[in-house]
């Protein structure tokens, strides 16, 4: 008689904990062939609200850490993903219908992507900031600063590499994130949240909501305590346009929908989209 | 040279304006460096016993009763019933209306009765009420008064008022027989917020005649920290250099472990110097610290780690 395995319950990841949706709703997630995989929590607007509160609470501490420390924490996340390579590979096989070998390469790429971003933490200011020689006796320095709480609509199809490619650039510079995962392929995100919970990432820095972007998106887009909106994963053009319009209420910084080739090396754009520039002047004189 | 008397706001500005600034990062780095000192064996034993003798064992709760205070007093006299060689603490610290109970419970043992006063902890009351509060505590038998400064006055710039209140409270500490309860002045460093403010408030209190400057009421967070205490030790050191008058320092609140206490003693030792290494000039305002000191003391005696069942609750 073969042994029955103990199946995982998939919950949300908010404020460092794993709550079920306050609505009590779930939905069935299927694999690439339509077979049942699991019931994922269906996040409600109240979950989104709670996630924003958690992200705001975590922002000051996370942004206030040294960039070296953030880089080390992100590197540790990569270590933990590597340690769960097989588990992630299985998630990708199930969600995207790839072969095991193909999925393993995707996991490799996701880890390397994460490591690439981790290494930016203590270098961003050197590449995007600078002294400015103004025409007067003043010291003048421009420095990048994280914008705050970023709501992210994760890519619809690319459940791991795409997810990692939108999340890491947001948090490496000190922002905190509320991520709405791919509706159809959310499970790798939950495995990732387990990694985050065990990697010294403070609770609230990343919050992961499995659910429907068309339901949650408007609440996040209109939320006055969200500073920026990454619409990358929004496939429907009209939805994307309306979310961008909603976001104008408090002039969020908006990154419009796109479907990049996630295997290509990124530019700085996904980091700089969520950075402010602060310029400080000071007189020079004895 | 006796300490300058401040007669006007202009005097205050002149004297305090002369004080050197404080660099936050540098101060905190020095405190962190002092915290790396490692005391072993005999040195640790000496430090633990010294720390115990410096504790002002404190209960300042709305729910305090005579029973609670008697229990505290018994613990103050005999912190470790299983070891008579353990020193008693320096004093107990209570609210004014429980001073008499404390005094009776302690008898004529050499353990002081410190009373908070002056509308502790907020200090928000008119001066006559604060004076009456003080006189009441002194009359009930307090040997020491822990007053609070008016932080509102300080932060709104009326430093002369802060000074004059301290002078008035000090006068209220005098007894008919010419003796005087000793005055500790609580700066409430957590509310003063900057190290520059703490330096200025320290000097203001010392010039007004404080016998001790104390960090906190323990009711506001942050309470005592090592950098703030380091700063106050620098102040008392410089004050004695300037005027030949020695003033004590009492960090209070948030000091919970023996490790913490030793860091403070090292800081006293290397900043103000050995003259302050006595309960006469340095105190810990604490409640749970005492049991940790006792457990560490037991470990040094027996070689085994102790637990809560092996120390008494007060």
């Amino acid at each position: 008689m073969s042994r029955l395995d103990v199946r995982k319950t998939y919950k949300l990841y908010i404020g460092g904990s794993f709550p079920r949706s306050e609505s009590g709703h779930t939905y069935a997630v299927t694999d690439a062939k339509g077979g049942f995989l699991a019931n994922a929590a269906k996040a409600s607007r109240k979950d989104a609200r709670d996630a924003v509160v958690a992200a705001r609470k975590a922002f000051g501490g996370w942004a206030g850490r040294t960039p070296y420390n953030r880089g080390q924490v992100l590197y540790r996340v990569a270590e933990m993903i590597e340690g769960r390579h097989d588990q992630f590979t299985a998630d990708v096989v199930a969600a995207e219908g790839l072969t095991r070998a193909q999925a393993a390469k995707v996991v490799d790429a996701a880890i390397d992507r994460w490591v690439w971003y981790a290494g930016w933490a203590d270098k961003l200011a050197q590449v995007t900031g600078n002294a400015n020689q103004v025409a007067g006796p003043y010291f003048n320095l421009s420095s990048p600063e994280p914008t705050g709480v970023v709501a992210v609509m994760a890519p619809a199809d690319d459940s791991l590499l795409g997810l990692v490619s939108v999340l890491a650039p947001v948090i490496v510079s000190g922002n905190t994130a509320v991520v709405v995962t791919s509706y159809e392929r959310p499970l790798a995100a939950i495995t990732l949240s387990e990694v985050l919970a065990t990697s010294d990432v403070p609770g609230g820095v990343v919050n992961i909501l499995t659910g429907d972007a068309s339901e949650l998106g408007p609440w996040l887009a209109a939320h006055l305590d969200v500073n920026a909106l990454d619409l990358t994963g929004v496939v429907d053009h009209d939805l994307g346009a309306s979310l961008e319009a909603e976001a104008a209420i408090n002039l969020k910084r908006v990154l419009r929908p796109s479907t990049p080739d996630w295997t290509a090396e990124p530019s700085l754009a996904r980091m700089t989209a969520f950075l402010e520039t602060k310029t400080v002047w000071h007189p020079v004189g004895v | 040279m006796t300490p300058t008397v401040l007669g006007s706001a202009a005097d205050v500005r002149t004297v305090l304006g002369d004080l050197s600034g404080v660099d936050q990062v540098g101060l905190e780095a020095r405190a962190a460096a002092l915290a790396t000192r490692s005391l072993k064996k005999d040195a640790k034993r000496t430090a633990i016993d010294l720390a115990i003798s410096m504790v002002d064992l404190t209960t300042l709760e709305g729910a305090d009763t005579p029973g609670k205070v008697r229990s505290l007093a018994a613990k103050a006299l005999r912190p470790d019933p299983s070891d008579p060689t353990c020193p008693s603490v320096a004093a107990v610290c209570v609210y004014p209306d429980l001073v008499a109970v404390a005094r009776e419970a302690l008898g004529d043992a050499p353990v002081g009765v410190a009373s908070v006063a002056t509308a502790f902890p907020s200090g928000r009351a008119a001066l006559p009420i604060k004076i009456a509060d003080t006189e009441n505590a002194v009359a009930a038998g307090a040997s020491e008064i822990d007053m609070v400064i008016d932080r509102g006055a300080f932060l709104s710039g009326d430093l002369l008022k802060v000074y004059e209140e301290i002078v008035a409270v000090r006068a209220a500490c005098e007894r008919a027989d010419g003796s005087r309860a000793h005055l500790k002045v609580i700066l409430e460093t957590g509310e003063l917020a900057t190290y520059d403010n703490v330096r200025r408030a320290s000097w203001l209190a010392m010039l007004a005649g404080a016998d001790f400057i104390k960090t906190s009421t323990g009711k506001v967070s942050p309470a005592a920290t090592l950098p703030v205490t380091l700063l106050m030790l620098e102040a008392v050191r410089d004050f004695r250099d300037a005027f030949g008058v020695q003033v004590g320092v009492k960090p209070a609140g948030g000091i919970r472990t023996t490790k913490d206490a030793i860091k403070y003693l090292v800081t006293v030792n290397e900043t103000a110097g050995v003259d302050w290494m006595t309960p006469t000039w340095f105190r810990f305002g604490a409640s749970s610290l005492l049991n940790d000191l006792l457990m560490q003391r037991q470990k040094l005696e027996t070689g085994r780690y102790a637990g809560p069942d092996y120390v008494t609750i007060d």
Partner: protein, 493 residues
Amino acid sequence: MADHAVPPTPLDYAPAPESRSIVDLQPSYGLFIDGAFTEGADGRTFKTVNPATEEVLAEVTEATDADVDAAVAAARRAFRGWSRMPGRERAKYLYRIARILAERSRELAVLESLDNGKPIKESRDVDLPLVSQWFFYYAGWADKLSYAGLGADPRPLGVAAQVIPWNFPLLMLSWKIAPALAAGNTVVLKPAETTPLTALLFAEICQQADLPPGVVNIVTGAGATGQALVGHPDVDKVAFTGSTDVGRQIARTVAGTDKRLTLELGGKAANIVFEDAAMDQAVEGIVSGIFFNQGHVCCAGSRLLVQENVYEEVMDRLKRRMTTLRVGDPLDKNTDIGAINSREQLDRITALASTGDDEGAERWSPPCELPTSGFWYAPTVFTGVTQAHRIAREEIFGPVLSVLTFRTPDEAVAKANNTPYGLSAGVWTEKGSRILAIADRLRAGVVWANTFNKFDPASPFGGYKESGYGREGGRQGLASYLTSSVLQEGETA
């Protein structure tokens, strides 16, 4: 304060030794060439000694010209694969090394204190964290070179010959190796002859990280080995940290060749204290400026320039502070000042300091009991020093501070700049505009305002004038190990 005053209790700290047992000292060490430890070509060895006790720690191989040749050849062979490896793979090797350095940091710190003489408190809390961080920082550049401001596709130079000093052995190794490897170069490094051991343990760490053989090679030896290495015809880049005299020789050696060169040499930094400094913190800065690492620091604040109107106050506070400095066993956790690295260095310090006495400056040290064996020098302050004194001109490289005064900001700047050196300087004032104005005018590669002796892999470090050229640390630190289309014609060394 109480009715019966209680007499004070003096607090003695008692010995607090860090255990040596974590270090597994071998009786002898070979060279690390092509990924393996090998014996030298002709079996010559020398001893390395614990300067606190004069006990012999180990025998170390002296690399001959043939050994150097083999190491350079190994580096050349490894260069092809290493430079063509995608940056993200090189990065992962360097991250591994950074993590192993962090894992073994206590062991490395104890070994460093044994071999160098510096207090365990410093090797544990300053050197080792920076070592690991240096590798972690540069690991992240390996796959981002196109962002370094050196063009779209900067290329590594090839084989780098790196010679490092004895004052921060493992830290200097990390300053050299991390950026070189991140940029795609391979290296042959020679540690100083009095402090080879942490470099040899680093070689073991390279093995633990599975670093491809030949990427890092360690050749131990003294002056002759160093000369053979920097003069080797198949080396593309030379990086040297050490004395200005040797730096000049190396500059002459590479003249007319294609070898790129960076030098990090001596200094005689001015630590300028203005009347409106935060006094207690300024005193801490003076103390750490000259007594940190026994003053064996190229960027040490060895000249205190104090504004004349606060001279008495500063000196009183400084002397009082110096009485709490603890000189002694480097492995004691409470030691502030350790041993001088060698008999030779001790003699140099003693001789130069005595010129201070001869030339009429006034010497002062706090009372301090020095151990009877080992190499020791008490922290010392000379007052009444002027620019014309030798102790104000020449680098002593020991715990000896020369104190001069100034009247105005202009005079402070003039005196600070009046030296052939230009490595670092300190400025102490609470006035922001003054910090910036003085920093602007100081001819020094590193200006520390209201702090001193702060290092970070993200922060470029290096000197003006005879303190050398090139920068280590930061984005600028990569430039020394890369060639770009911008610099191709008539490149500067």
